[in-house]
């Protein structure tokens, strides 16, 4: 028997959802026009005014926003309210140069936490449950997002944050956690750690897990479900739009319901920007419908995806998105952290290396491995092993600072990194995620 956190919204008839969206988009566009000069200018350049947007069908007339816009306007350029009305920020992991910072009013936090509460209830959560949140707390949206949703549902919330697996297991067992929230790779890792300690899947009290922030496959889902003895649910989101909970899986486990009362989804051709017909594969674009502090109209996620509007047996009427099938840019998600090759290049040049490098990402025992092969430059070479090893360590630490995740650096001889047609192959991703 399906359960809902907000049944009147989650199972609303389609015409009701559309009505709600049409009403909200008019207000949201007006809000942006009045308060965000940067976007107003983009609209003016296209000759669009708020009067042109009467329904969600008109959203396609609006200009796009990309991560570049967010960087360019850092930190306050897309703020839709007075700073004094904001109560929190979150930020993406380090990107080239500037970070992306998202702002929230209390209203924004509330609607975000409603979204994660829906995800928890869809995974079978009630106030009887004990929710163990081992997403990172802090600037990352994962921890506080699920934490807030868990509070709304009335679950006992264990704010564990990430890491320290022995302690995670101790609390999980001693306090009989029933719902686990973390990245899928960490869930798999916990599963292995439990097995190593001789704890069988039936010995824990877990019944469900809500896993997101990185790509994972059906095979991985089955593995996690088996090793923890749970049902594993996917959750989707991005800092720019709020955080996890933009979309979530129901018990059908066939796509994630997008919270359409807050986010309007389009699929576009990443090259032309044209909106693609129903059911096409393309880049996912989100328009916020009722945000105050950080309203984003037509934000390009760069995630390649397909939308599915066929009715779902769970009773929810909101459109479903598939697991992202890839990226329209070169971003990689490694251990839940967004990594761009350009960030690595920036660090290498700054540290005096040539930009000849190769990134190799793989997955061993469900944890991402992250290796960077770098060619040693002639003026860095020395007869002293200690000197070269110090250089290697210092590069690793500079990369860790930039990326928020530590790669293993391998120094290699000049001209040894494979070049095809004169151009180096920068990224070798051996994980089969899509």
């Amino acid at each position: 028997m399906a359960q809902y956190y907000q049944p009147e919204i989650e199972t609303a008839p389609r015409e009701k959802i559309l009505e709600m969206q049409n009403e909200k988009i008019v207000k949201q566009v007006r809000h942006v026009w009045d308060n965000v000069p940067y976007y107003r200018h983009l609209m003016e350049k296209k000759g669009i005014t708020p009067e042109d947007i009467k329904s969600v069908d008109d959203i396609r007339k609006l200009p796009f926003l990309s991560k570049d816009d967010l960087r360019e306007t850092y930190p306050y350029g897309l703020l839709g309210t007075d700073l004094k009305d904001c109560v929190r920020i979150h930020s993406t992991s380090g990107t080239t140069g500037k970070r992306v910072v998202a702002f929230y009013t209390q209203h924004d936090i509330d609607l975000w936490e409603d979204c994660t509460a829906r995800a928890i209830v869809a995974a079978g959560g009630t106030k009887e449950d004990v929710v163990q949140v081992c997403y990172g707390y802090g600037l990352f949206t994962g921890g506080s997002g699920l934490h807030g949703g868990s509070h709304k549902v009335g679950c006992l919330t264990l704010p564990m944050s990430s890491g320290n697996t022995d302690r995670q297991i101790q609390f999980m067992m001693d306090l009989s956690a029933t719902i686990l929230c973390c990245t899928p790779s960490y869930a798999a890792y916990i599963g292995e750690a439990l097995a190593e300690q001789g704890i069988k899947p039936e010995d824990n009290s877990l019944k469900a897990g809500i896993f997101g922030a990185e790509p994972w496959t059906e095979e991985m889902r089955q593995e996690i479900e088996k090793s923890l003895g749970i049902k594993a649910y996917d959750i989707y989101g991005l800092t720019e739009t709020s955080g996890p909970g933009v979309a979530f899986e129901c018990e059908e486990q066939k796509g994630m319901h997008i919270n359409e009362d807050h986010f309007y989804a389009e699929i576009i051709d990443p090259d032309t920007g044209e909106v693609l017909p129903e059911g096409s594969k393309g880049e996912l674009v989100f328009t916020s419908l009722d945000k105050e502090a950080f309203p984003l109209l037509r934000y390009r996620t760069k995630d390649i995806c397909v939308l599915n509007r066929t009715p779902c047996s769970c009773g929810r009427t909101h459109v479903r998105m598939c697991k992202p099938m890839g990226r329209s840019d070169d971003m990689m998600i490694i251990r839940g952290v967004n990594v761009f090759p350009s960030q690595i290049e920036t660090v290498l040049l700054k540290e005096g290396y040539t930009p000849n490098y190769q990134i190799v990402v793989d997955r061993e025992r469900n944890t991402d491995t992250f290796d960077i092969f770098v060619e040693v430059a002639p003026d860095q070479f020395s007869d002293l092993m200690s000197h070269i090893q110090r250089m290697e360590k210092s590069l690793e630490s500079a990369l860790r600072t930039m990326l928020g995740i530590g790669p293993k650096v391998h120094l290699v001889a000049p001209k040894t990194i494979t070049r095809s047609e004169g151009k180096a192959v920068r990224v070798i991703d051996k994980r089969k995620l899509h």
Binding site: P378, F381, D383, M385, I388, V412, A413
Partner: protein
């Protein structure tokens, strides 16, 4: 008076050393002494050859190669001969980063190559203790 050592960056994998040695012999050099240091991914081949300038130029296209001044001390090839040399260097507060040895053309002759933090002082200390050191010139003979 010090001698020139060539250091060559090699990958730590099968075939890397044989390629380098083949390039050195192809350049017509005789390796008088050598040592190989290893890290996880790479290694450093250190060699003493008769004509380091020429070899460095010939191998420079293919290899990452650097020149370092090292001290080659002559000693007799018998038990206890190294001890006074090390004492002299230690007393002068010279730090030895690494060292290796080779035997000379005479039966009683050996050479120890020192990579030190201060080549000039090290040589002066050894010479004043009656230990002779090699020069690039003497290697060509």
């Amino acid at each position: 008076m010090a001698i020139t050592q060539l250091s060559i960056f090699l990958m730590n994998q099968p075939g890397a050393l044989v390629d380098a040695v083949s390039a050195i012999s192809g350049a017509g050099a005789n390796i008088r002494a050598m040592s190989l240091a290893e890290a996880n991914d790479f290694g450093i081949l250190r060699i003493i050859v008769s004509d380091s300038d020429k070899i460095c130029k010939l191998l420079g296209d293919k290899y990452l190669i650097s020149k370092t001044e090292v001290v080659a001390a002559r000693m007799s090839d018998r038990s206890g001969a190294l001890y006074p040399i090390l004492v002299a260097l230690s007393d002068a507060n010279i730090n030895i980063e690494y060292m290796y040895a080779f035997t000379g053309s005479d039966a009683d002759e050996a050479y120890v190559v020192f990579r030190v933090n201060d080549v000039k002082t090290a040589e002066a200390v050894l010479n004043s203790n009656g230990v002779s050191t090699l020069s690039d010139e003497s290697l060509k003979l």
